[in-house]
Symmetry: C2
Subunit: 213 residues, 2 copies
């Protein structure tokens, strides 16, 4: 029945967009801490009260962009082909995201994306709040693993450990890529090395960490 969004919904979407864009533009221009929510509200031509009706907190004005990706790994695991191992599906998906220079991989040198990433990484308040999304993603991936793999006595623990390790690795790889891009590499120059690193990381997940002395 939801054929048409309706005027009200369309306006809400536009307002939300306007607030978010005003916020990020101002943050990129002057820095997260140097911009107050009152200024953002003024720039978006809404009241401060309305701003907080759309976004629960100042950091959400930035971090809501991560929310869309928070259960991506879980989805990949759920939608993997029959006979494909979860780690293989996640690996394949990362490879494909890297190939497409998806910003989420950090392997993206579009200036706005680089600036946005820097903003998140260089602002302690944002870097910290980012894990809120991470931990929701952990729960989602844990469930996906638990529900799509063979039952076992310690499946619950194994699923959780797999989830936290995979997400920790993905985040580490993305931050690493972005740090190198930020230092001046182009995405294309960095790509081969980023792919090698991703393969190496998944090799470690599958085969274990080195445990020589």
């Amino acid at each position: 029945m939801d054929v048409e969004p309706g005027l009200r919904e369309r306006k809400k979407a536009r307002t939300r967009q306007a607030i978010s864009e005003s916020a990020i533009a101002l943050f990129l221009e002057r820095g997260y801490d140097a911009v107050s929510v009152a200024q953002i509200a003024a720039a978006a031509e809404v009241s401060k009260r309305t701003l907080f009706a759309y976004f629960p907190s100042k950091d959400d004005l930035v971090l809501h962009r991560f929310a869309d990706h928070e259960d991506e790994p879980a989805r990949v695991v759920r939608e993997r082909g029959a006979g494909e191992a979860p780690l293989d599906a996640l690996h394949r998906h990362l490879r494909s995201r890297l190939d497409e220079r998806d910003p989420i991989t950090g392997l993206c040198d579009i200036p706005q994306v680089v600036a946005f990433y820097r903003l998140v990484i260089d602002t302690p308040a944002l870097a910290g709040a980012r894990v809120r999304y991470q931990s929701r993603g952990e729960d989602a991936l844990t469930s996906a693993l638990l529900e799509t793999t063979a039952p076992a006595p310690d499946a619950e623990l194994t699923s959780r450990l797999t989830a936290v390790q995979v997400l920790a690795v993905l985040r580490t790889l993305a931050d690493r890529n972005q740090r190198r891009i930020s230092a001046g590499s182009s995405a294309d120059d960095l790509a081969p090395e980023a792919i090698t690193a991703a393969d190496h990381a998944f090799d470690l997940l599958r085969g274990g960490l080195p445990h020589h002395t």
Copy 2:
């Protein structure tokens, strides 16, 4: 030359202690959000300004207790015996902490400790801020691994990945233990299962995650 702390230092230490204890007592009694820093300052008989001279933020009043442990894994790796693999040292250390019912493992049913842990886990602001310490620990462990293992072309990446995975696993195990204690188990009853889980987790780290379909 630092034989004696001196009156000034001793007073500072006492003041810091008084503030921290007042804060945690009030938080445990009424909940983190229901206590203001002004009330804590009043209880500790200092000004609000002084409180913030000792602790940079409200959440640090609680979380500074984690700071002492933030580079424990790094230390374990650095101080391991010759011929011992880092993962073996970390595993051994976790076993020994579990045996001693160290609060950091979550396997501790002393009421105050349980209440403290609950406070951190159940308060979103604290659970989120907890990763600040985690990420400093990641840096420390990465360095320790890098500096005490054989050089290799991808040693830097491998060290970082090892560090983030190990810390993610330790945190997961501790939270799991504490959640079960919180649900009513005694530490001694839970111990065998907690040890099994720890061994299982380190087996996965050493030998890789399961990658069947």
